[in-house]
């Protein structure tokens, strides 16, 4: 019994160290195995995160290729492929805003015809249709996932095992989008002078550009711009910032805002399981435009009327051109004193050798109202357009015999209708192909009186001397034999909304009254 006990004790001691070493080796092995697996899980997880980040950036970059058709009214703000994208959606809304600002201004001035409201609505609904088409696509998770997969699927996630692959996860919910950088600059610069001051529109600016996601009310509708900070590229944003600005959780009232922030979710799947991750990115087209109605022009119309009076009573009315001509307006008119009278006149002398500038009396007198209206409208085409440019153009354009209409319009040398050169041509000249000179006015005419600036002293002579004269031949009568002419000059302003290209028309109206048989 005793011997048996001793033997048992001895056997236990003999194996004790080996057991301890074996146990330690097993524990060490387990720890190493666990650490090995954890390392691969963390490494694989990091690879998945990197792949999802790259996929988010890819999505933020590729959303710029999503297109909508511009419709008939926004071809001038479309890209060179004829499409509207995130890059030029702000140009679209900008043009719509200008048209509606013009309509609102015309209403304030009492010069809006019923067509003006129709045109304002057409401009708004056209922009809204484009907006909604882009909105639908940019909130389509299936489409966004293809952008994600273009990069993420190519990324290596080999730490999840051989044959591991990465792809978008779109099963559970739609990927949320966000309206980021609210109040920051959009990619549409503007100058306050571009918007008619009497439209009384509260435009919110951010560093020389229209502010993003800040709705602007004009003519009863809301317009907005997508913020794209200057100098930024598509980049990742934090989950916290994204969540605070989600389109579904914190929408912007009155508008269906196109998102500039996109979220993505991807799954890396390997032989032993899968790892998921999400990322958030903001897009930026890195293009900059100015607020404009690119295909817009100003019209200048000259209308000359001769009114023929015999013994103080108008007997005839005719029109005349911008070069001297002779007309017989009074033909064998019976006089109250007996006998008859024939009368003729030399007309169009007031234009002899003149430029268009000198034919516009109010411009020549530096009429601030008319000049301001013309400059403002042309600034809707080119924000840098100035009064001096306008006068230079008008001085450069000589009156062309037989032509009574002239157009001031932009010429574009860039593919995207930016930075135009402003030109002037008679209606018979070589005009751009896009220009449709015939239009239906949506504003009514109003006489703009010549008002010299306060303190400017007497106005300078409006034009070189030259006057219309009349002569009469009395048949069977000697009296009354007096005759004379008077010239009445007026400049009339007809504002237009610009939806159909014409932004307004100045009408230079000359009325020559020809008096015959006066005492």
């Amino acid at each position: 019994m005793f011997r048996h006990k001793r033997q048992t004790i001895r056997r236990t001691k003999k194996g004790a160290s080996l057991a301890l070493v074996a146990a330690f080796a097993i524990v060490l092995g387990l720890v190493l195995w666990a650490t090995f697996n954890l390392t691969y899980i963390f490494g694989g997880s990091q690879q998945v995160r990197n792949a999802v980040d790259a996929g988010a950036l890819s999505t933020a970059q590729k959303v710029l290729t999503v297109t909508a058709k511009p419709g008939e009214n926004y071809a001038d703000v479309a890209d060179t492929s004829g499409n509207i994208t995130l890059s030029n959606i702000n140009r679209t809304w900008g043009k719509a805003l200008l048209v509606n600002a013009n309509v609102q201004s015309m209403m304030t001035e009492g010069q809006a015809l019923p067509q003006a409201q129709t045109n304002g609505k057409t401009a708004f609904s056209g922009a809204e249709t484009i907006n909604n088409e882009l909105y639908q696509q940019l909130n389509n998770t299936t489409l966004l996932s293809t952008f994600f997969n273009q990069i993420a699927a190519q990324r290596s996630i080999n730490m999840l095992g051989s044959g591991a692959g990465m792809k978008a996860s779109i099963q559970a919910v739609n990927w949320p989008t966000a309206l980021l950088d609210r109040g920051a600059a959009s990619n549409l610069n503007f100058s306050p002078g571009q918007i008619p001051s009497d439209a009384n529109i509260n435009v919110i600016a951010a560093g020389g550009a229209l502010a993003g996601y800040e709705p602007i009310k004009a003519n009863g509708n809301y317009f907005y711009f997508v913020p794209f900070r200057p100098g930024e590229m598509p980049h990742l944003v934090s989950n916290r910032i994204f969540d605070m600005n989600r389109s579904d959780k914190t929408p912007i009232a009155n508008i269906q805002a196109i998102p500039n922030g996109f979220s993505v979710t991807g799954n890396g799947t390997g032989p032993d399981g899968s790892v998921g991750s999400s990322a958030y990115a903001i897009t930026n087209p890195q293009t900059h435009y100015t607020l404009a109605i690119p295909y817009g022009y100003l019209s200048i119309q000259i209308t000359n009327t001769a009114k023929w009076f015999v013994e103080g009573k108008q007997v005839f009315e005719s029109s005349y051109g911008t070069e001297p001509e002779e007309q017989w307006g009074v033909k064998s008119v019976k006089l109250t004193t007996g006998g008859m009278i024939n009368g003729y006149a030399s007309l169009g002398n007031e234009f002899t050798g003149q430029s268009l500038y000198w034919s516009m009396s109010d411009i020549a007198r530096n009429n601030p109202v008319l000049v301001q209206k013309m400059v403002q409208r042309m600034q809707e085409v080119s924000p840098s357009f100035t009064k001096n440019q306008l006068i230079t153009l008008l001085l450069s354009q000589q009156l062309v015999p037989g032509v009574t209409r002239y157009l001031i319009y932009p010429v574009y040398t860039t593919a995207d209708n930016t930075n135009p050169e402003i030109m002037i041509q008679p209606i018979t000249g070589k005009l751009p192909k896009w220009l449709v000179a015939t239009y239906t006015p949506d504003g009514s005419e109003l006489v703009i009186p010549a008002v010299p600036p306060a303190g400017a002293g007497p106005p300078p002579p409006t034009k070189p001397p030259g006057s219309n004269t009349n002569w009469q031949v009395l048949i069977g009568a000697k009296k009354p034999d007096g005759h004379h002419t008077t010239l009445i000059e007026q400049n009339l302003w007809e504002p237009d909304s610009g939806l159909n290209q014409c932004l307004g028309q100045v009408r230079v109206s000359h009325t020559t009254n020809l008096y015959f048989a006066e005492n």
Partner: protein, 130 residues
């Protein structure tokens, strides 16, 4: 008693013959893992730098600058950019880097290890078409 002590010693030594190589191998293994993570981060940074450049030359020089600016710390002895492909059509840039490590425990002339990693990033510097 003497016999017992000797037995334990032999047992411990025998155990150590197993445990020590495992331990040393695991030191090497973690060095490789850490090196791999460093290389992944480096290639990611290089690809991101390249993706923010317009033009292949600018992008390559940005990626190279990132790789050249690597702060060496033991056991890393060399990093290099080995692949570069700036594809404007697909708007993607691919960067590949290698990272060479000194193994802390050289086993059978296995004194250095070279790790390779690639990263593909979208070229975010390309503006939207006009």
């Amino acid at each position: 008693m003497r016999t017992n002590r000797g037995t334990s010693l032999i047992e411990v030594l025998a155990g150590m013959l197993v445990i020590i190589p495992i331990g040393l191998a695991s030191v090497n293994f973690y060095t490789v893992v850490i090196g791999s993570q460093i290389n992944n981060r480096l290639v990611e940074d290089a690809a991101r730098s390249a993706a923010m450049q317009l033009g292949s030359n600018n992008a390559e020089s940005a990626a190279r600058q990132t790789v050249d600016g690597f702060q060496y710390q033991a056991p890393v002895i060399n990093v290099a950019m080995t692949d570069f492909n700036y594809n404007v059509n697909s708007q993607q840039v691919l960067v590949g880097t290698t990272l060479t490590l000194n193994m802390p425990v050289p086993i059978m002339n296995w004194s250095t290890v070279t790790l390779h990693a690639t990263a593909i990033e979208p070229i975010v510097a390309i503006p939207a078409p006009l």
